[in-house]
Symmetry: C2
Subunit: 703 residues, 2 copies
């Protein structure tokens, strides 16, 4: 990313409005008016071949006429002449084009959009949009958009894929008291996308938190990488997580909304914090932009009402920061600041008698205590206390404590006075919310942020001694045969090339050869038909198990051939697979898809009812760290099975995590070759005893 | 419930304040002041032996001095003299006492509290509290509390078990624009409880929706019955649903918070709609008090922004009202009111160009169309449209449509103008929310309400030809032996008395008798040790299965005896159970507890990993309808197993539902005898082939 170019695009010192208009109501007029009214300090150059003056500003007939350097061009001319404008800008040396005009890929005009980008890039220029509202920046007093005003000032910046929502949010900032420094409308993302804006905002001094409204990434892997590198908290609201919602998203933007489960995985890997609705995006953004991460799990709740304390406790469990009882010394000290019938356990109930002093004293003591990692302060409005004074008491206590690396959030339940106190708290850097649930949810976001930072998401599991050449040779042979799927034996050869343990097997072309191979491999054995036309081998009577001697090998050989011919007379039979029969183990499944948004992505789950009935599977975008593989194993519902139930030994977690990582490498390494694959079942044995891939399947990409 | 008495308590025409005070700041002063300032039209009689005048009102020295009828007494005197006040009131013929004073069961003074109730009841008087804020009623202009003012007017009434929260909510009504007619503080619920207030509010003309803040019911069964009978929507926020939260709730009120899963069951059976946090209680209350139930599943979403449309679609799936595409004719008509690039599918995207007219036309058409059961209208603030005009357009369209039995909710994303428009909508009977997610959640509550009404929760499954006497005889015998647990054989006899199919079994006292019984029952067989001291029979080597002939019976008999003696030399051995070996079937589990809040409660789940690993179980309070039993079977995660997976036949759902109902009858009928029981496993066969209780266990209540 060229910073100078991106700075020119997003914080320009001079801007040309191409399609500027003297007619009120036209977007080309609104943009000029907005720039003027936002007191933009840079140069404003309206451009329109038919005007000489717009809103008192000299209007140029062409971009080339402008007598000085132009950082950014805001383009509002009709779609069909945007390309000409881009060329003009390119010739002029404009750094970036903010293309408001719609009528490109979102209505199927993909080629035209691509042409814009190609042309811009040939001049070293970047494009934001098309089909956007524009760019708004409080710190630059820059309203380069048709949204009516700059948002309330704040220290987070928002990137939105929906223009209408961006305008709504702009207005809502004042209502909710949650401000932003920049609002960036990203539209069709023909060039500058989420990854670029994340990378740029992470360097932007005025931005402390990056908020995203996402309908669908275009290049998911690029976003993950940008987010992993970012130092600031990133929070994302992903729309289109329901099946019907994804369809709705696709119908209204030019981008493809991937499956929710894969986004879930990508957010985890990228360290992006989830927002689960629009309010939640506002609420969590506020906390993430004002408070430090919560570095440990010990959350303390102070309250003047038992009821809100219980609600906060429920929320703490729900949002992954469950309360524990405070240590004895903390309880003993806190007990001094409440009446006999109060409770110091956690939630700490100061009772309705709590005034400013008790709040101050307990806040100051609590935040300073090493056991406490984060603090939620709750207040229920009472007739006896002054909400604003309490707020001031809380803030003063925090200041006096000298503690700056532990987060605090506050909740007030009350009326106008409480509202005023909450506004005051936010203005003084303390996030405050109208319900205990929200304050806890907000501090949970700060805990998530710290956890994300702890997990080194960028450390990828080490590659083994992989033999890509051997794998490609197997695949090439299948392609030469005109096949789009590998046989089980071939698929296993590919798995073996990536150091995964598979059940040994060889193909016999005759009964005698089968007997010979059986001796080499050793009993008991499984025998299976090998035919590209017979994929469901069991259904065809093409599988025999637990074969224990030569006579059984001969009988199985004949029987399988006979069944296969009966099942499909014209099947091309490569032979009969003679395979080591692996001992019973816990069945797990590995799968891969080549996702349109994220590329090769790995699925993991337990076999049997877990996958078939409960759909208990989890995903990660390849490649990933061993820690992520272990997380996958821990986050499925059936995880206790792997840890050992009913007195069973734990399964070989280490071997399984290694195999998942190797599998991820394989599907990434062979991304150009494999469209889908699975290992099903993989039999996992007791700790130290490894695992075996007992069956494998691989479909090839069309070339 | 005596309505006259309850009316006297909750909407009194005259009220005495016992402990009235002339000293500002004292609760006895605040209450008198609040009554005066709320313009209460009834008679106010301050009572204080030491005062003659309080706030210009004549003060009586005793209740008996008051020269007229007194409906309610608000009691604020210290705890130790409350009983005397109750007696005085009783003598005077006061109908109800609102006891604000604290210091009773919540601090361990249970006996004193019980004495209050006993005394009140002896006079035919009811008690609200003690340990409460009081009662507030807008329609009576009655602020009989120490909360500073009446809430914003509204048509819902709130019953709160937390006083502090009630005061906070009182103030918050103005901030949120969600009003209430009555706020009732219920405190320790020594007498009047949730059930009483539900019953009374269901008759109260001014109340359209009943909202509850619950920490814990005292008599859960009574609440369920009252809620089942109620015609109005009831919404409940249950605090203390987390393990730690329940502990916190218990520490601050006198009531026991039951397990969350049982409350979940009770809410379902009672038809109480869940609120999952405080905001949600406000939001859903607003919809339930303003709009009719949503009678079908077809929800249509109209929007001017694709982004909020997608968010609403996601929310619809999340909250159980998933969107479907609108029928062709609906799409064709709606297409007329939007530009080419809009979408009529559902969500219906009118695009950012949508003004008042398009909104009006599409709202009117949609609400009238028979396919549409409910409507969510979304609006993102734009610079070109006027939020209030759009709101008025929506309201006018709804009025002109003439449709009154379909619900509508609205969401605005925007600033002050949107806020003003939303307030206007609420004042005109249309619930409006600041995010699409909330509007969908609110209409989902109206769908839940309709579903609750459809389900006849009060229709209890018919009782069979049960032999309670036989069951009691078995239990009595065990008690006479000094045992607190039944043997498997005895437990099965009790199950059989309630018409549940059990595997046949008999106890053999000798090897020869075992052989004889084996012939009678038929092979294959299971044999098990029968000893009250050996409950874990398998661990003791006390179980042999798949016994196929006489020799095996003899060998098993000897081996089991030997193992049992080795396991526990002094065990009292009743004999060896010779039991029919039931064919393999799908294993399910039935269990019962005698819950402290709800009484006999039934658990149901699938066996094996479903219960052991996934804790995939569900509860219902006994007794319940067959429909509820079928719901239990459908709501567990493993439900597909019962419906048949991998080409298997469905299980005998009908027989299973019958057995669950019979089991519920048994545990209810024997509530005084059984503390816990289970049937594990119950083997369920294919449709039409029934099931068998293969093992049973029963623990007796201490007497």
């Amino acid at each position: 990313m060229d910073n100078k170019v991106m700075n020119g695009l997003l914080t320009p010192k001079s801007v040309a409005i191409i399609g500027a208009s003297a007619t009120p109501g036209k977007i080309g007029h609104t943009v000029v008016k907005n720039l003027v009214e936002s007191n933009y300090a840079g140069k404003i150059y309206p451009v329109n071949p038919k005007s000489d003056d717009i809103l008192g500003l000299k209007c140029y007939h062409t971009v080339s006429e402008i007598p000085a350097q132009v950082d950014a061009a805001i383009i509002t001319v009709p779609a069909k002449i945007v390309l000409d404008s881009i060329k003009e800008c390119g010739e002029k040396g404009v750094k970036g084009a903010i293309i408001i005009t719609s009528g490109f890929s979102e209505v199927g005009e993909k080629a035209l959009e691509e042409e814009l980008v190609k042309t811009a890039h040939s001049y070293g220029m970047r494009i934001l949009g098309p089909n956007i509202v524009g760019v708004l920046s409080n710190s630059d007093k820059f309203n380069g958009s048709f949204a009516p005003f700059l948002p309330l000032k704040g220290s987070s910046s928002l990137v939105s894929q929906s223009g209408a929502l961006l305008i709504g949010i702009d207005a809502a900032t004042y209502l909710r008291g949650v401000g932003f420094d920049k609002l960036i409308s990203i539209g069709n993302m023909s060039d500058v996308d989420f990854a670029d804006t994340i990378e740029w905002l992470d360097m932007d001094e005025k931005t402390k938190c990056i908020s995203l409204y996402i309908e669908g990434f275009k290049q998911g892997r690029k976003v993950i990488e940008a987010a992993q590198k970012a130092k600031k908290p990133i929070i994302g609201l992903k729309a289109g997580v329901s099946a019907h919602g994804a369809a709705a998203a696709a119908s209204h933007t030019g981008s493809l909304a991937g499956a929710s489960k894969i986004y879930d995985a990508a957010f985890k890997q990228a360290g992006i914090i989830w927002a689960n609705d629009l309010n939640n995006l506002f609420d969590r953004t506020l906390a993430l932009s004002l408070q430090p991460p919560m570095k440990g799990d010990n959350l303390l709740v102070l309250t003047n009402g038992g009821g809100v304390g219980v609600l906060a406790t429920d929320a703490a469990e729900k949002y992954g920061v469950p309360l524990k009882f405070a240590p004895e010394d903390v309880q003993a000290e806190l007990k001094k600041h409440m009446p006999e019938f109060g409770s110091a356990k956690n939630p700490v109930d100061l009772t309705g008698m709590a005034g400013t002093e008790w709040y101050s004293e307990t806040v100051k003591y609590s935040i300073q205590h090493p056991w406490v990692d984060g603090l939620v302060v709750l207040y229920c409005e009472t007739a006896m206390t002054n909400p604003l004074e309490i707020a001031q008491g809380i803030q003063k206590a925090l200041q006096e404590s000298g503690i700056k690396d532990k987060p605090v959030t506050v909740s007030y339940v009350g009326g106008e006075k409480s509202e005023e106190a909450m506004r005051w708290l936010v203005e003084n850097g303390i996030p405050a919310y109208g319900a205990p649930d929200l304050a806890v949810n907000a501090i949970a976001a700060l805990r998530e942020f710290a956890r994300n930072k702890e997990n080194n998401h960028t450390e990828i599991a080490e590659t083994g001694n992989f033999d890509k050449k051997a794998a490609l040779a197997v695949i090439e042979k299948a392609r030469q045969d005109g096949r789009s799927a590998l046989t089980e034996m071939e698929a296993k050869q590919v798995f073996e090339a990536y150091q995964m343990p598979v059940t040994h097997s060889r193909v016999a072309k005759s009964e005698d050869e089968a007997v010979k191979l059986a001796k080499e491999i050793g009993y008991p054995l499984v025998m299976k038909i090998v035919s590209p036309q017979i994929l469901h081998k069991s259904d065809a009577g093409g599988v025999k198990v637990n074969i224990k001697d030569e006579a059984a090998v001969r009988s199985a050989y004949q029987q399988i051939l006979k069944n296969a011919k009966a099942y499909k007379a014209d099947a091309d039979i490569h032979g009969i697979l003679v395979q080591e029969m692996a001992p019973m183990g816990t069945e797990v499944i590995l799968g891969s898809v080549n996702d349109a948004t994220f590329g090769p992505t790995v699925m993991f789950g337990l076999g049997g009812i877990f996958v078939e009935v409960l759909k208990d599977v989890t995903f990660r975008v390849a490649p990933f760290s061993k820690k992520q593989a272990l997380e996958m194993m821990a986050e499925i519902k059936g995880a206790p099975i792997l840890r050992g139930v009913r007195g069973e030994q734990p399964r070989d977690m280490d071997a399984l995590a290694d195999t998942i990582c190797k599998y991820a490498h394989m599907v990434l390494d062979l991304a150009d070759e494999i469209s889908e694959s699975d290992a099903n079942p993989v039999l996992v044995y007791e700790q130290g005893k490894g695992l075996k891939v007992a069956d494998a399947r691989m479909l090839l990409k069309k070339k």
